[in-house]
């Protein structure tokens, strides 16, 4: 136990615990349960301010010491890593066998557990999906300190409920994940990024539609749009050298003028905000049916926007400094309206802590009653990251 003046998104932390095994995590949680203490799990802390601030953080459960790859079975294309393992470390280890975990590192240093908790994703989600599609097994500790597992070590497995999917994107409010097993993919032999300028949201829309309907199987189709509504669209092709070359021809025909590289362009796959800045931007995640891309980009004109246009997920940065909170809230609601119209959602991932009370961070959430019931079953005393998630969960 460490005495501390640490805070989590402005909330004072009672003490920090740094367990290094699942059993130690269970011991901390059992003790917290007995004492009625609230617990906020964290990994590298790169996304700890996402969501709402917790109501209370008696214990900050620092999982960065619960790290390391436990098992990499190259022949079975699976890897098991402890939750506090940085994604980059997993990638490095599996790369030795010509394999990769098909997740992008959207924030440097992020751990697999943190990516799981926030369901963070990058451009390659178009090819590999997100955490929910790659997680095949999970070990976790419940709020009452009970250790449990779901899934397993094989990709194909329909035995029992897929509790892992419930934990993905649950922001540390259901249980504390300690170990994850993922399916892996081979590292492609060739890759090519092709970037074309776009002059408007509607042009980005038209080119995105052309890319996803062409038979080029893009690994990513993403956009980077500046405040003036102009920017670029980048297509990533991966595969056999001959295959990539053949598909690049098709892409060139459809995109016209392109810049090409065998390496990721500067800033590709990152968020449009600077998470390390002292004055945080309001960080928005916009999701929508892909036919809504043009409308969403038009509505977001004036903001810096990045994201997977091919998957229908964009990120936008809304400068907070010097703006009236009511104006920011109005902008959030206006953009949310467009996303909802296109069958999607808008979430305020992050914002300066003083601004969060003025914003509807999560927006309308369908089936919230069921979610409350799930929470009540897993954490009836509401001690895990209380208040951070939807509906006050």
């Amino acid at each position: 136990m460490v005495a501390t003046t640490v805070t989590v998104d402005g909330v004072a932390v009672g003490r920090v615990e740094r367990p290094t095994t699942t059993a130690e995590v269970a011991a901390v949680l059992r003790e917290a349960a007995a004492d009625g203490h609230t617990v906020v799990p964290t990994g590298a802390g790169t996304k700890i301010t996402w969501g709402l601030p917790p109501h209370s953080a008696d214990v900050l459960l620092d999982l960065s010491g619960l790290d390391g790859v436990v098992e990499h079975e190259a022949g079975d294309l699976i890897v098991t890593a402890r939750a506090g393992t940085p994604l980059a470390q997993v990638q490095e280890q599996v790369a030795s066998a010509g394999q990769r975990l098909l997740l992008d590192e959207t924030v440097p240093g992020g751990t697999v557990g943190g990516i799981l908790a926030t369901n963070a994703s990058g451009p390659r989600r178009l090819l590999g999906g997100t955490m929910r599609d790659l997680l095949i097994g999970v070990t976790f500790v419940r709020a009452d300190g009970v250790i449990a597992r779901a899934g397993g070590k094989v990709v194909k497995n329909v035995a029992g409920y897929d509790v892992g999917k419930l934990l993905v994107g649950s922001y540390g409010t259901l249980a504390v994940v300690t170990e994850c097993t993922f399916r892996l993919h081979p590292v492609p032999r060739a890759r090519r990024w092709l970037t074309a300028p776009v002059g408007s949201g509607q042009e980005a829309h038209a080119l995105t539609q052309a890319m996803i309907h062409a038979q080029v199987v893009p690994a990513a189709v993403d956009v980077a749009i500046d405040a003036d509504g102009r920017g670029t669209l980048t297509v990533l092709l991966e595969g056999r050298p001959d295959g990539v070359e053949g598909r690049a021809d098709v892409v060139r025909r459809l995109l016209g003028e392109t810049a090409e590289s065998d390496h990721a362009p500067e800033g590709w796959g990152g968020y449009p905000w600077d998470a390390t800045a002292t004055e945080r931007d309001v960080a928005l995640k916009l999701a929508f049916g892909i036919s809504g891309l043009g409308d969403v980009l038009e509505a977001a004109r004036g903001l810096i926007v990045r994201g997977s246009s091919g998957a229908g997920v964009l990120y936008a940065a809304l400068p907070a400094t010097g703006s009236d909170p009511a104006d920011i809230a109005a902008t959030v609601e206006r953009l949310r309206g467009v996303c909802v119209h296109h069958r999607g959602s808008l979430v305020v991932l992050d914002a300066p802590v003083g601004l969060k009370p003025a914003l509807d961070v999560w927006g309308p959430v369908p089936a919230l009653g069921l979610m409350q019931r799930v929470k009540d079953e897993f954490d009836p005393d509401r001690r895990l990251s209380p208040g951070r998630f939807v509906g006050g969960i």
């Binding site: 079975e73 094989v154 329909v158 199987v217 069958r343 019931r373």
Partner: protein, 488 residues
């Protein structure tokens, strides 16, 4: 005179549904007594066949009010007894809910009713250059609602994933009668991924009334390779080499000598003569990539001892290669009066060892086992052959079958890769999972269905008591009530 809940439900059903949709006649009820796993039979107390999703929701709501257990059934093709009826309950059949409501290519989505046949989604999308990727071998008859319940896979899930990776949203009736939407068109709906829990929950968390699926672009080129080997070990080594080379085939299927024999007898597929094992490897994608991968696969098969490699590049030739594989289950009927199909999964690298152990089991017991499997992902489908007319044969087959599942668990695998747990494998759940694991899964059940009226008796060996539900909140959230928060 008091009426039973089922009598009251029948009355409600007659109000909600047209007469043809309410079946109470004993002889007709009996036609629904089993699904694809025919040795489990229970006659339901009532069968209802709603004609629209409003009627479907109404029936479930009535069950919730009256506390009557219900079981949803799509086409009844399941192989784990997941749609086995409940003797005091109602069987809700979705087979008339077959409207494909929307095909939206610009969103790569289709919206369908739960009774829509899997292959019909693909048929509807093909003119636009799209298809629905999950392809269970029953895809010509199985329903999307059933696929959602079972998280169905298929031969091509090696590359494309399972139902859970292709369903982006559902509308469902919960066991307390509430109509909710989970997920949608767009990805990453805020809140818990309840959809991820519902897909594959085998009808124990509610009944879906509408399903939104992702449509996948049809591949530019498809090549299917058939390779003959003298043993499953050699064929297995070829699979390992293909995976190690970084190729992700759309499908890799293997059949052993006994299953080849059965397929030949049934459909004359003319697989390489004298083969101890055949591999079917399908590659799909952009032409130039497929060509490069094909060269690798053909070479790796030969290097690992394939004595014959055939290649199909058009639909007719492909169908010929797939004919033997797809007929395998039915074909064993030619060489054995009865059989048990298992669906265990092992890490692919354990294949040679597990196949050897299955061979030993077969030898020791005198029970023949034909092996057909998805070799790429280690999903075995051992067909345990027996003649029920011979005394003790059924039991001997059961024992071998159980021992095979134990082998799967011992090797860190799963008791089911795609058929589901259902009524059949519920007792095995306690071998694969610890008590705390099963207890935790049932927390989800308690949140959705504390009274266990939705497909009771399936999946879990021992039901968890959900207690008094202290935290169930239906109205205003306490924080909101206390004025601490306005918007959620």
């Amino acid at each position: 005179m008091t009426t039973t809940p089922i009598q009251r439900l029948t009355r409600r059903a007659r109000e909600l549904l047209p007469p043809a949709g309410v079946i109470t006649d004993e002889a007709r009820l009996r036609t629904y007594e089993c699904d694809g796993l025919a040795h489990y039979r229970v006659t339901p107390a009532l069968v209802v066949i709603p004609e629209d999703t409003g009627q479907l929701a109404g029936i479930v709501r009535a069950c919730a009010e009256l506390g009557v257990p219900y079981v949803a059934r799509g086409s009844g093709t399941g192989l784990s007894g997941g749609a086995l009826p409940h003797a005091e309950g109602v069987l809700v059949v979705t087979s008339r809910l077959r409207a494909i409501r929307e095909i939206r290519v610009e969103d790569q989505r289709a919206v369908v009713e739960p009774g829509v046949i899997n292959l019909d989604v693909t048929r509807a999308a093909t003119p636009s250059g799209y298809y629905y990727a999950p392809d269970p071998s029953s895809q010509q008859v199985c329903s999307i609602g059933g696929n959602v319940a079972e998280n169905s896979g298929g031969a091509h899930c090696l590359k494309y994933g399972f139902t859970t990776n292709h369903v982006t949203g559902v509308e469902m009736v919960t066991p307390d009668g509430e109509l909710v939407r989970l997920g949608g068109d767009a990805p990453d709906t805020p809140g818990y991924d309840l959809l991820g829990a519902v897909v594959g929950s085998e009808g124990t968390l509610g009944v879906v009334t509408e399903v939104t699926v992702r449509l996948t672009r049809l591949p530019e080129k498809v090549v299917t390779v058939l390779a003959g080997f003298d043993s499953t070990d050699r064929a297995g080594a070829a699979v390992s080499a293909i995976i190690a080379a970084g190729v992700v085939p759309a499908a890799v299927e293997m059949m052993d000598a006994l299953s080849i024999e059965a397929a030949e007898a049934a459909v004359q597929c003319h697989y390489p003569a004298g083969a101890g094992a055949v591999l079917v490897v399908e590659l799909d994608g952009p032409s130039s990539d497929v060509d490069a991968e094909y060269a690798d696969v053909a070479q790796l098969c030969e290097q690992n001892g394939a004595f014959e490699v055939r290649t199909a590049t058009d639909a007719a030739e492909r169908a010929l290669i797939w004919k033997g594989r797809k007929s395998a289950f039915a074909a064993v009927g030619r060489i054995s009066p009865d059989y048990i199909v298992q669906d265990g999964v092992i890490p692919r690298t354990a294949l040679p060892e597990v196949l050897r152990r299955i061979g030993e089991l077969s030898e020791q017991s005198g029970v023949r086992v034909a092996n057909v499997f998805h070799a790429g992902d280690g999903n075995l489908h051992p067909l345990v052959l027996f003649d029920d007319a011979v005394e003790g044969a059924g039991q001997a087959a059961e024992e071998v079958s159980r021992a095979i599942l134990d082998l799967c668990i011992e090797h860190g695998g799963s008791i089911t890769g795609e058929h589901g747990v259902g009524a059949d494998k519920a007792p095995y759940m306690a071998r694969m999972f610890a008590e705390d694991d099963l207890d935790t899964m049932q927390l989800v059940r308690c949140a959705f269905d504390p009274d266990r009226i939705s497909n009771p008796g399936k999946v879990f060996p021992t039901p968890r008591l959900c207690g008094e539900r202290p935290g169930r909140r239906r109205g205003v959230h306490p924080l909101q009530e206390a004025g601490l928060a306005e918007v959620f």
